[in-house]
């Protein structure tokens, strides 16, 4: 076993912190992290609860491989009910926090209730206590991190924290750990702040001593690392170019959503691409990208560490941003760039820094600003709302202003903090919101990549690329190439990606390994680490079980098959240029095939047979 078999239960309402045995039956059925924590959510919460009320819970959960020497084995997830979607939320993060939590001896921490005043949780191995955080409230993640480090005086301390956006009720606030790694999506940071919980500070020195078969684990993880090193994507492409290498690819195939998804190619894509991040800039001869970086135990190292041009308008009077910090990843670069029509890489990097500094999901922020720009250009909002700012597509100044006011929850920033759906409803143009289940889209236009339309529509946490990344097959040819413009066969593809990803997300590993690893590379690592037999088939079954459990949670929260939809723009307004020109998403054709492949009813409910075949709770 690689579970510590222990969890911490923190009741914020009455200030108690108690140790509890991990439910090992559930660990066997749901593995860890995403799956296991969702099992606890099913057991302990009412899916219809108010996501920002004390009855919602928030779980920080590791997987069995978190903290081990398996490549990328440093992941943890934050699980709760989402205030953005009212569905189950599970946001995955790298960095070093998750591994440290494991080193302290904990598989997960469950937060319940709500503190009467701001608190933070301090964990030093088995010693865990709730401490006052009044002095941290109102501070950004970066400021709070500094204060906590001074207090705790241990350079190896790892911190996960929420920023001012979360405190101000921005519905897509993130939990940021290690300064620039984030459990980014679905407003998990908003839920954390709603509990008056500012941060979790953890230091663990117990290490990992409970791998089931150490010798087999050494050889399985070694074999896995060799596969990653030899693969051109994980061995060369990702470390050198990061995920941002996709900017030019997705533009070329005509699936780069542009200006709030009105168009499908962006004339400025090359200016905000991975290649552009390597070009020396005029002012100081340095490129945007300083170096790459790795999360705990990762042998891929896709992370970007960047600087902003000091002469750029956004930072020229702000030396606090003349630093090396987390740079642009593809999804963030897309949302802040093509989707807002801005092709200024320094403006995008600055806003990305703000997202880390104050804990905002850059995908939702960028998409919501894009929707606000469309509202502005249509006249639904005016300079009366925007404090005189011309909130137009392509304006880097407007983008930076919008991010600044949202980070602090000031003025119109509070409206942007509502997310695209509520913002567009508020100003009478709901059709401008590019969301599924209230969550903003990532960087692939479903008119040009058909499988992604189905993946977005059926994602259990609202529009999301990481729940079923069929781009790998449809565009990148991993594991094999399928035609992105063809909807035939995509139902099965989406299901396979969704189930596999649910298993990977529950193991403690990074999903980027799957550009090189198949389940046949992953299962032996889990098998050697954990008690019992973990075959490829069992991993896939666990993934399917998790997917269906999330679906049932959402059904009890009030979501139905009618929520498996896409905005009208994507199913009725054809792509304007590129290979997909003239096409719309064929969701209506794929969705019934998908329900059938899942063993669900024609209206998208999990059938009694599927429920009992998978041994689902309840």
């Amino acid at each position: 076993m690689s579970w510590t078999r222990k969890l911490l239960r923190v009741n914020l309402s009455n200030g108690t912190v108690t140790e509890e045995a991990l439910n090992m039956q559930w660990a066997n059925d749901y593995l860890g992290q995403r799956g296991l924590a969702t099992r606890y959510m099913v057991e302990e919460t009412d899916p219809a609860c108010d996501p920002l009320g004390p009855d919602n819970k928030l779980i920080m959960a590791t997987g069995p491989l978190t903290g081990t020497m398996a490549s990328t084995g440093g992941r943890y997830s934050v699980i709760c009910k989402s205030p953005l979607t009212n569905a189950i939320a599970c946001s995955n993060s790298g960095g070093f926090f998750g591994a440290e939590l494991k080193f302290a001896g904990w598989d997960m921490v469950i937060f319940e209730g709500r503190a009467a005043s701001p608190m933070y949780l301090s964990i030093e191995n088995e010693k865990a206590s709730l401490l006052p955080a009044d002095d941290l409230w109102g501070k950004s993640v970066w400021e709070a991190d500094k204060v906590l480090r001074t207090k705790h005086q241990d350079p190896q301390t790892r911190i996960a924290c929420v920023g001012r956006s979360a405190e101000q009720g921005c519905l897509y606030a993130a939990v940021v750990n290690d300064l620039h790694r984030a459990a980014g999506r679905s407003g998990v940071g908003t839920v954390m702040a709603s509990k008056n919980l500012k941060a979790v500070v953890v230091r663990g020195t117990l290490g990992i001593g409970n791998v089931e078969n150490p010798e087999a684990f050494m050889s399985a993880t070694k074999a896995g690392k060799a596969v990653l090193a030899e693969n051109a994507v994980t061995g060369q492409g990702l470390p050198a170019y990061g995920t941002q290498v996709l900017m030019n690819v997705i533009n070329e195939v005509g699936a780069l959503p542009t200006r709030n998804m009105r168009e499908t190619q962006f004339e400025g894509a090359a200016n905000v691409s991975a290649e552009a991040m390597l070009e020396p800039r005029k002012s100081d001869g340095k490129p945007n990208l300083t170096t790459n970086g790795a999360c705990y135990a990762c042998t891929i190292a896709c992370g970007r560490i960047s600087t902003i041009d000091r002469t750029h308008f956004s930072v020229k009077d702000k030396p606090e941003y003349w630093i090396n910090s987390g740079g642009l990843e593809y999804e963030a670069a897309w949302a802040l760039g093509p989707d807002t029509g801005v092709d200024d890489i320094d403006a995008l990097t600055y806003v990305n820094f703000l997202c880390n500094e104050d804990g905002m999901d850059p995908i939702s922020l960028g998409s919501t600003i894009a929707a606000a720009m469309e509202l502005f250009e249509s006249g639904a909002i005016t300079t009366a709302q925007t404090d005189g700012v011309e909130l137009k597509f392509g304006s880097a100044e407007a983008l930076c202003w919008a991010a600044e006011v949202t980070a602090k929850g000031e003025g119109f920033g509070r409206d942007i903090g509502l997310g695209s759906k509520r913002l567009c409803e508020k100003y009478g143009r709901p059709e401008f919101s590019m969301t599924v289940k209230g969550q903003e889209f990532p960087a692939y236009d479903p008119r040009g990549i058909q499988g992604m339309g189905l993946a977005y529509a059926t994602s259990n946490r609202g529009a999301c690329h990481l729940r079923g990344y069929t781009v790998a097959s449809e565009i990148l040819g991993i594991p094999e190439k399928t035609d992105p413009l063809e909807s035939d066969g995509k139902a099965g593809l989406v299901k396979a990606f969704q189930d596999a990803t649910a298993a990977v997300d529950s193991a403690g590993l990074c999903v980027f390994t799957t550009f090189a690893w198949t389940m046949d590379d992953i299962a032996p690592q889990v098998d050697a680490a954990c008690e019992g037999d973990w075959s490829t088939d069992r991993m896939m079954e666990v993934g399917e079980r998790i997917w269906n459990m999330e679906r049932e949670y959402n059904a009890k929260a009030g979501l139905t098959g009618a929520d498996d939809n896409l905005p009208a723009r994507l199913v009725s307004e054809p792509a304007n240029v590129g290979p997909a020109a003239g096409r719309v998403s064929e969701l209506d054709k794929m969705l019934p095939e998908y329900y059938a492949a899942r063993g669900w009813t024609s209206d998208g409910s999990v059938t009694v047979e599927t429920h009992s075949r998978l041994g689902l709770p309840g």
Binding site: A232, G237, Y241, L246, N248, Y330, I478
Partner: protein, 84 residues
């Protein structure tokens, strides 16, 4: 005939000197196959992973065929890459 030739990521350095960023205009014989262009610019075939004409993928089997290209087409090539 003239076509637009784009090489990205690690392949970018293989473009001719008139390239701006990752894009060059090149002259190719009528009927040139994609592999003949790939070879001419010393793109290792195993790294010509994602090969697109006007954004549409061309599979391995079609890259030796002549007549795939016409005047003004855009040929773009990437090594194996991924992101997300």
């Amino acid at each position: 005939m003239q076509i637009t030739f784009k090489l990205y990521a690690t392949l970018g350095d293989l473009l001719p000197s008139n390239a701006v960023r990752n894009v060059a205009s090149i002259d190719v014989p009528e009927g040139a196959s994609l592999n003949s262009i790939i070879d001419k610019y010393h793109v290792p075939r195993e790294l010509a992973h994602l090969v697109l004409i006007n954004g549409v993928f061309v599979c391995d089997a079609d890259r030796d065929q002549s007549g795939m290209l016409k005047e003004g087409d855009v040929l773009a090539i990437w090594p194996p890459v991924a992101g997300g």
